[in-house]
């Protein structure tokens, strides 16, 4: 191998290293979200809207089935919402999270009409995983949680389990108090924001 070929290779390797560094820098500058992006999250797109439209259709379908007394059918419509593929997996999309929280809250409500207290409790628990921040959605789930416990207390009374009934009533009161606290905080925040998104 001649000295010139060696020199050429050395220059080429150096140039490639420099190029790699520059490309890496460019990619980093592009992929690193700005504070503005981090605050707002990804841009709204058709994938997200498709999920929201699916949820809308699911709720309307559940309305029709529930109206005819088909509670299981209505639950099936809502389960299709919560089991649907999520847009942008790995990313938190507030609209999607809140839609899921509300669907779980309605499922809990429907299960209570069937007397399925344990199932309703599970729905509430699942819903709360999608509503960690103090919002109407979280407040609504706590309200449903309180109602579930209220129903559990009623069932315990009917079964003659007075101690369980008392415990469930106490728990229900605490949950409904928490629900009201959340709603009050949210109302104060909404009044402070003056309905900027409306």
């Amino acid at each position: 191998m001649t000295r010139f070929v060696k020199q050429f290779r050395m220059h080429l390797v150096l140039a490639l290293v420099v190029l790699g560094l520059l490309v890496g820098l460019a990619c980093e500058s592009r992929s690193t979200p700005s504070p503005h992006d981090a605050a707002e999250g990804p841009v709204l797109d058709t994938e997200i809207l498709a999920f929201l439209s699916l949820a809308r259709a699911g709720h309307h379908q559940a309305d029709i089935l529930e109206g005819t007394g088909n509670v299981d059918g209505a639950l099936g419509s809502l389960e299709r919402i919560v089991n649907a593929p999520r847009p942008h997996p790995g990313q938190t999309i507030p609209e999607v999270e809140e839609t899921l929280a509300d669907a779980y809250a309605r499922m809990a409500d429907l299960r209570l009409t069937k007397g399925d207290v344990a199932g309703a409790k599970k729905d509430v628990d699942d819903g709360l995983t999608h509503a960690a921040e103090p919002t109407y959605f979280r407040g609504h789930l706590f309200t449903m949680y309180g109602i579930v416990e209220q129903q559990r207390a009623a069932n315990a009374v009917d079964a003659g389990r007075d101690a369980e009934a008392a415990e469930a009533r106490t728990h229900a009161v605490a949950l409904l108090r928490e629900a009201m606290d959340i709603q009050e905080r949210v109302i104060g925040k909404v009044l402070g924001d003056a309905g900027a998104d409306r």
Binding site: L49, E98, G139
Partner: protein
């Protein structure tokens, strides 16, 4: 011309060309050519031509000394040519290296510009609606049995946002 020699016809006396009798000048040049052929040291283009023709017909072997001299001269020329080619190659390598480096630098600059601005025309990104909580769409705590109305409200509001995003990307204000 003898008296008893028959006289040439008038038209033959003026004959020119190959059949014409040699002139004094031609005779002199023929003598010079003969002498030049006998003595190679005499300069004569005609003699050289004739010798070349003769050698082409029946070439003589080269003298050993002459052959060695020719080979030595050819080798010397070849070495000189190799040196020139080597020098030229070095120049090519340097030019190619710097050319490639310049191209890579230009490409990197484009990548940087694209990476920073997100587009080539350097225009600013349009204001687009991002995902966010739907909380602001509601002004009172939720009631049981109103889940469908909430789903409607969320979907309608975000449909409008998505439409605005499309218009913004198209440059429609």
């Amino acid at each position: 011309m003898a008296e008893n020699e028959p006289r040439k016809p008038k038209h033959l006396e003026e004959v020119q060309g190959p059949d014409a009798p040699a002139t004094e000048d031609e005779l002199a040049r023929a003598e010079a050519l003969r002498v030049a052929l006998d003595d190679a040291s005499r300069p004569s283009e005609d003699a050289e031509l004739l010798r070349a023709l003769a050698l082409a017909e029946s070439p003589r072997p080269l003298a050993e000394a002459a052959q060695d001299a020719l080979v030595a001269r050819a080798l010397t020329r070849m070495d000189a040519r190799k040196a020139r080619v080597k020098s030229h190659q070095r120049g090519v390598v340097v030019r190619v290296t710097f050319g490639a480096a310049a191209l890579i630098a230009a490409a990197a600059a484009v990548v940087l510009v694209v990476g920073r601005s997100g587009n080539l025309d350097g225009g600013t990104q349009p204001e687009l609606a991002h995902v966010r909580s739907t909380q602001a769409l509601f002004d009172q705590p939720f009631e049981r049995g109103q889940a469908t109305a909430r789903a409607d409200r969320i979907a309608v509001a975000r449909t409008a946002d998505l439409r605005q995003n499309r218009f913004a990307r198209w440059g429609v204000k």
